[in-house]
């Protein structure tokens, strides 16, 4: 009996052991390494998925938390197309539920990688939910911040207090004077009057000094004249013009921090006379998935303006063209109609950098007019800038170019007729 019980014991122990190991193993597998998973998730998944929100693909947090069939999930992630093609009922359902959108095949991800990702998703989503539960309290607290009424009230109180202080000061001064008068100390005041009279006389003397007066008049005329000159000279020159735009688009973030090429958005700059303001579908290339700053907790209201303009609903990822309304930007660089300007001539042919005329846009939070855009400014540049003729067969036959090179002179735009009226005015 003891033997049997021993055997049983041993058996059960081994079973338990195995089971325990198995459970351990399984749980280890299921948990994966969330830290490793985060890297993989951000590298591969964020283009289409968010944890708590639907993007191109469904919100992964709830889906993966709810679905515990990790084997199936691994298969799906590694090759969803094969699953669908094989007619797996669940796969087909997921496929159809998500408007038959094609998910990228991640054949390079090992089982371990996938497990890490799943672990990350689950833990991160859980953390998010807990945060969200805590959040309403803080949000409520944040909401009870000073309202406008309170601010105005405060200002009013301060102003009234200031007036009261002034009044009180005056009263105190009067009272002091009364006190002094009573004590018969007004003699000092007479002394003060004498001093003032002396100063007056001195001033009158100065006024009679014709040279001095003349000097001041000349100074005044020079200052006034030059001020007027500068004002008139710069009439209609709008350097620094920085209108308020309908969307606060930060160029410093996009061009500066993110280092997005100017042409990505201003696609016409190298092809056309117009640099073109990007159409909103260009914005949506990124902003379909980016709806806030990295550190922000709530979606950006500015980015939301893109969605509103397009009639796009981020929750359903659907466009409603009936609600679409174009964004009315305010032009910053206003060349008059009588001047023809072609971007591609300057960028593509001339090889100029955008910053030459538009200034350090990559540091501007809101864009302003950097250059004066006057004809003098154009002509100065045309006179100084050497033509970018190397490697361009167009300039090969230009006798003048050859002659100048022989003589060692600079071949400027002006030398090729670049400051003739008809180059820009027609």
């Amino acid at each position: 009996m003891s033997n049997i019980s021993l055997i049983l014991k041993q058996f059960s122990r081994s079973v338990l052991l195995i089971a325990g190991f198995a459970i351990l193993g399984f749980s280890a597998r299921a948990q994966g390494d969330a830290a490793k998973g985060e890297g993989i998730f951000k590298a591969n998944c964020t283009a289409c998925h968010k944890l708590d929100q639907k993007m191109t693909g469904p919100a992964l947090g709830p889906v993966i938390t709810a679905d515990t069939d990790d084997k199936w999930l691994t298969k799906w992630i590694q090759n969803n197309k094969a699953l669908i093609a094989a007619g797996d009922a669940k796969a087909v359902k997921v496929y159809n539920d998500n408007q038959q959108g094609n998910m990228t095949v991640f054949a390079t991800l090992s089982d371990g990688d996938v497990a890490n990702v799943l672990a990350y998703v689950r833990t991160e989503y859980k953390a998010m939910q807990e945060k969200a539960k805590a959040a309403p309290a803080t949000a409520a607290a944040a909401d009870s911040g000073p309202s406008n009424l309170v601010i105005f009230g405060l200002i009013a109180v301060i102003v009234i207090a200031f007036i009261v202080i002034l009044l009180l000061n005056k009263v105190i001064g009067t009272l002091e004077r009364l006190l002094l008068n009573k004590k018969g100390l007004a003699v000092e005041e007479v002394e003060v009057d004498d001093k003032a009279a002396a100063r007056k006389a001195e001033f009158k003397k100065l006024l009679k000094n014709k040279k001095l007066v003349g000097f001041f008049i000349v100074c005044a005329v020079i200052c006034g004249g030059s001020w007027q000159w500068v004002t008139l000279w710069n009439t209609n020159v709008h350097t620094g013009y920085q209108p308020v735009q309908p969307i606060k688009f930060p160029h410093d973030l996009h061009a500066g921090v993110m280092k997005i090429e100017c042409q990505y958005c201003h696609a016409g700059a190298f092809k056309s006379k117009n640099a073109t303001i990007p159409s909103l579908n260009v914005c949506m290339n990124c902003h379909k998935s980016v709806d806030r700053r990295m550190d922000a907790s709530a979606p950006s209201t500015e980015i939301a303006k893109i969605y509103t303009a397009l009639g796009y609903d981020p929750a359903t990822t659907k466009y409603d063209s009936t609600k679409a309304k174009p964004v009315q930007w305010i032009r910053i660089h206003n060349l008059p109609d009588l001047a023809y300007f072609n971007h591609s001539q300057h960028t593509k042919v001339g090889g100029l950098k955008c910053q030459t005329c538009h200034g350090p846009v990559e540091t501007m939070q809101e864009v302003y007019q950097y250059s004066p855009l006057t004809m003098k400014w154009c002509i100065q540049c045309h006179k100084r800038t050497e033509v970018n003729y190397k490697g361009n067969a167009y300039y090969d036959n230009m006798i003048q170019v050859h002659d100048k090179i022989k003589r060692g002179e600079k071949v400027t735009a002006a030398a090729l007729g670049g400051i003739e009226c008809g180059k820009c005015h027609y």
């Binding site: 006379k273 159409s279 909103l280 008059p336 023809y340 591609s344 006798i399 007729g417 003739e420 027609y426």
Partner: protein, 1032 residues
């Protein structure tokens, strides 16, 4: 440099009338009232000191306030979702088709702004007519109907559809007739839709109705050869052309195509090969074609048939019964004999055409052409033209049926019989009896003055406005085997719908979308003809624009009915009917000019302001009479006369003295006098369609009418003498005989002279843009003028301003008359002076020859305008161009005064932003046609031809981006591009291989007013006339 021939633009110039001399002394027709102000009370008026101070104070304040203005807020609105093919600032081109010609539509940011020729077009090889150039403006016509109309009020398509369908169902049950009246349809898809419609409603019938009809030719071909078709004429194969009143370079059948064909035997290339066709024209009114003829003989309409009989007799050596001599017209009689000889000599390469719509006349012309072996060579009956297929008897029958009450429904597509049917009154009365009247016309309501529909559609129950052709799908087949496609270049602007689609919906067709219908139709039948198939084939078609089946071999034909006695008889009777009795009776000839045509485009201001090529009259029609005849009747130019037809219709029109007009005749153009065309076309001229007469089964253009003076005077808005050279010689010409002996004959260029210059020579190191214009190729049609309008945003100024000599066209076609004397012995200026003393020269007025000269800024190297500009607004460039900086101009107008060519134009108004020009271009919608690469000029500045500098710059930029040198032909200016005759060549003189450099090396090249040593940049090539030493 003195020419031995006198050229004159108008009678007032020839006669040097005191008024004319006075007018030409001044730069502007109306003197500026400066002297009045100076001498009158203007400046002498005492301004009280207080008023002066008030004005000063206000002025200073206002200026300061204005200077304080902040940056003007300009909105910049990008696409929401940008179409992939659109890059703002870059033009897209789409193939399409206009009037059967393959064209390209230039669009910017999705709106069509210019029509350009498709260089592969089989008919005109990239040439585009004036009306095609102007057609883009029709798209932006603010007078287009914006919604369908049901019983006179704005409605919806659903309501219209259900109404028409229920009506049609009821009519079908009733079994009465349904008629579809269209101007000739040659579109295969439209014909298929109509066939479907007829199948659905078996009582329906399609009637082709052409306002200007070619029934005569079609029926004559039926009678002569058993083929009721309009032949495809081949002027390029003809060495001798004799035309009886056929304006084949202008309005007759296919002017652009014929121009290309005709000029190919007369241009520089042909001349160098010592080959030039000969062209003899017999006609009553001076047509564009007649003015280009080598020999032009005025004949009255009544003499035309007799002349054709004489020609037949002379060629065949037979005598048709009833033949008579042209007893009153000796020169015509003589010319007929010469023409007959020449035609016989050129047998197989000869062509006789007649403009008449009389079946008998055309049958006889067919007989002549058979005799000359023209069929198979100069006339192609096997690949016929499908441009016109109307039968005059069908519309007549329709009117009778409507009157009888047997028609229950009638549809009008691109047809307006209430205006252009000769019996318009009878037609409208009969129309009232029809139950369902539907029009597809797009004329309609606009602004404060609300008019609905055109002359016909305003009488209709339903108006289902059709798309403009730039908004629609479609196709056309103008010549057998040549199929072009029409594709939309813009979304429909208004709530209009394609007429074919409406018909498909009304018959509940399985395919209701017309695009699908057209595509299916092509995939089924037409693509295969071009060796294309399927979706790929369709896409190829949309890129090439057409398919062309190889021509069938054109064979020769012989007459079915050899006996021409009956034909001759009919012609003689017809001629007898036109004989006038008494002084107040005249032979009236009604014609279509090449600008307005049948009047369907009367609401197009570009066309209305384009001077009619021969008379140079804008904005109206007129009564053209011979100067001698007019003087005999005691008329002066501008006198308004009343013309009354035998059936009582009358119009009052101003008289124009037209040299070359046959004595005793009056010519009046149709296409004017629209009452419901729109604000531009309404009330422009008088309607001449009712003067047509129905006889022998067709509509005839000649009749007898009475004329009487009304006592009123109306000054014609005629541009011909606006820009005077004060009698300096600007035209040089020679005869072909002399040319063959010496290629430089007639060219009195004095290049050998030593010239001295006050100025340094300009350096033109890279480019020297110049132009060569071949006077022998230019027919004077005026397409270049409209092309220039469209390309350079040239404003329309209207009739009143044209009368004040303020037209803005950058390029004008000068038309010069000169006298022919027997043997071409040309008149010396002194002799003309002698002639002026008596009226003898009035006899010579019958016998004038015409030269056309396109005149535009010559871009002189020593430009007189540049030296007088006080602000250097017009300066020379290093590329040989004369630049004009509008924003620098202060409007002294010294330049215009000093320009010997008179090509500078002054902006008297802000034409784009002035309520006085609301009818033309000052409305938001029409302004969308503006070329965004060219600025619109402000009031008070000068403007002139820039040689399309925007195109030069664009061409250079393209080459730079592609990193290659600029090639000859990369830059084409607008006037050059549209010219079917290739009369204008533009390019870089510094490139010895360029086409223009070669053209300017020709012995025929001369420069206008060369003796002034302004060194113009445009060379003209001497006009060559194929007159024989002893001419008719």
């Amino acid at each position: 440099m003195e020419s031995n021939k006198k050229y004159w633009k108008g009678l007032e110039e020839l006669n040097n009338s005191p008024e004319f001399v006075e007018l030409n002394k001044h730069e502007f027709a109306e003197p500026i009232p400066i002297e009045e102000i100076l001498s009158g009370t203007g400046l002498m008026n005492k301004t009280p000191r207080r008023n002066f101070l008030k004005a000063l104070g206000f002025g200073v304040g206002a200026v300061s306030l204005a200077a304080c203005e902040k940056v003007p807020v300009h909105k910049s609105i990008p696409y929401l979702i940008k179409p992939e093919e659109v890059t703002p600032g870059i033009a897209n081109y789409y193939t399409s088709s206009y009037d059967g010609h393959a064209i390209l539509v230039k669009t910017r940011e999705g709106r069509p702004i210019k029509i350009e020729g498709n260089p592969n077009d089989v008919l005109s090889k990239g040439g585009v007519s004036a009306s095609a150039q102007a057609s883009v403006l029709d798209l932006y016509d603010a007078n287009r109907l914006q919604n369908p109309m049901l019983k006179g009020s704005s409605s919806s398509w659903d309501a219209v559809d259900s109404f028409v369908k229920s009506e049609l169902a009821a009519i079908k049950a009733g079994g009465k007739k349904i008629r579809l009246v269209t101007s000739t349809v040659n579109s295969p898809s439209t014909l298929a839709v109509i066939a479907d419609f007829v199948a659905a409603y078996p009582t329906a019938k399609h009637i082709n109705y052409d306002a200007v009809s070619y029934t005569g030719i079609i029926q004559a071909n039926q009678n002569s050869f058993g083929k009721a078709v309009l032949p495809h004429y081949r002027f390029d194969n003809a060495d001798v052309i004799v035309s009886f009143g056929a304006d084949f370079l202008g309005s007759w059948i296919s002017g652009e195509e014929f121009t290309r064909q005709y000029v190919s035997n007369r241009n520089a290339k042909s001349l160098e090969a010592k080959k030039m066709s000969r062209h003899i024209q017999f006609e009553s009114g001076m047509s564009l074609t007649g003015s280009n003829a080598d020999v032009r003989i005025p004949v009255k309409p009544s003499e035309e048939g007799i002349a054709i009989i004489s020609l037949y007799n002379a060629i065949t050596g037979t005598t048709l019964p009833g033949s008579q001599k042209l007893s009153n017209n000796a020169s015509a009689e003589k010319s007929i004999m010469i023409a007959a000889q020449e035609l016989k000599a050129a047998k197989g390469k000869a062509l006789v055409v007649a403009g008449s719509n009389d079946i008998a006349t055309q049958t006889l012309v067919n007989a002549i052409n058979v005799e000359l072996a023209s069929y198979g060579s100069t006339i192609d009956l096997d690949n016929p033209s499908k441009k016109y297929a109307g039968n005059d008897s069908e519309i007549k029958e329709l009117v009778a049926d409507m009157k009888a009450g047997s028609v229950d429904a009638v549809f009008f597509l691109d047809a307006n019989p209430a205006y252009d049917y000769f019996g318009a009154k009878e037609f409208t009365d009969a129309l009232a009896k029809v139950r369902l009247k539907v029009s597809f016309s797009d004329r309609g309501a606009n602004g404060e003055v609300t008019t609905i529909g055109d002359e016909t559609s305003s009488l209709c129950t339903v108006i289902a406005p059709n798309h403009n052709y730039l908004e629609q799908w479609g196709d056309s087949n103008i010549i057998e085997g040549y199929y072009t496609v029409i594709q939309p270049a813009i979304n429909p602007v208004y709530n209009t719908r394609q007429a074919e689609q409406s018909l498909l919906i009304w018959i509940d067709a399985p395919v209701k979308e017309y695009y699908t219908y057209v595509k299916n139709n092509w995939e089924k039948t037409l693509l295969a003809k071009g060796g294309l198939a399927g979706q790929a084939g369709w896409e190829t078609l949309l890129q090439t624009g057409f398919v062309k089946v190889a021509d069938k071999a054109a064979v020769s034909y012989s007459l079915i009915a050899k006996d021409l006695a009956a034909v001759a008889n009919t012609i003689n009777t017809q001629a007898a009917k036109l004989v006038t009795k008494g002084d107040d009776q005249v032979e009236l000839q009604v014609y279509a000019n090449s600008v307005i045509g049948d009047g369907k485009k009367a609401n197009n201001p570009w066309l209305q302001e384009l001077p009619e090529p021969v008379s140079k009259v804008t904005w109206e029609n007129f009564a053209a009479i011979a100067p001698k005849f007019g003087e005999k009747l005691g008329y002066k130019e501008g006198d308004v006369i009343k013309i009354t037809s035998p059936n009582g219709y009358s119009v009052s029109l101003p008289v124009l003295f037209q040299p070359g007009q046959a004595q005793g005749t009056v010519s009046v153009a149709v296409g004017y006098g629209r009452t419901l065309a729109g604000p531009v076309g309404n009330g422009v001229g008088q309607n001449a369609f009712p003067f047509l007469t129905a006889s022998n089964g067709t509509l005839q253009s000649s009749s007898v009418a009475t004329i009487a003076k009304t006592g009123e005077i109306s000054i014609l808005a005629q541009t011909q003498t606006h820009h005077s050279y004060e009698g300096r010689t600007v035209i040089q010409e020679t005869t072909f005989e002399k040319y063959k002996k010496d290629a430089s004959s007639g060219n009195r260029s004095e290049r050998e002279h030593k010239v001295y210059s006050l100025w340094d020579e300009y350096e033109r190191p890279q480019y020297n843009w110049v132009m060569a214009i071949d006077l022998n190729a230019c027919t004077g049609c005026g397409a270049c003028v409209v092309a220039c309008n469209a390309e350079n945003n040239v404003p329309v100024v209207g009739k009143d301003e044209v009368r004040r000599r303020r037209e803005m066209h950058w390029i004008r076609i000068d038309r010069y008359y000169s006298f022919n004397e027997d043997g071409g012995a040309v008149t010396k200026e002194k002799e003309i002076g002698a002639l002026q003393k008596d009226t003898a020269h009035m006899d010579n007025m019958d016998n004038v020859s015409v030269v056309y000269q396109p005149m535009l800024c010559q871009h002189c190297d020593h430009a007189p305008c540049e030296t007088v500009c006080p602000v250097l607004a017009t300066v020379h460039s290093s590329e040989g161009l004369n630049h004009m900086a509008y924003n620098r101009c202060i409007g002294t107008r010294y330049c215009a005064n000093n320009c010997p060519y008179k090509v500078r134009r002054f902006n008297w108004f802000n034409y784009w932003n002035d309520s006085r020009f609301d009818n033309y271009l000052n409305n938001e919608h029409t302004q969308l046609v503006l070329n965004p690469d060219v600025v619109t000029r402000f009031r008070g500045v000068m403007e002139k031809c820039s040689m399309c500098i925007q195109r030069i710059q664009a061409g250079k930029l393209k080459a730079k981006i592609e990193k290659r040198p600029l090639k000859d032909g990369d830059v084409k200016v607008a006037c050059q591009q549209t010219c079917s005759a290739n009369a204008i060549v533009f390019g870089n003189m510094n490139d010895p291989e360029s086409e223009v450099a070669k053209a300017l090396k020709s012995e025929r090249t001369y420069y206008v007013l060369e003796e002034l040593n302004v060194q113009p940049g445009i060379g003209y090539q001497v006009k060559v006339r194929n007159t024989k030493e002893v001419q008719a």
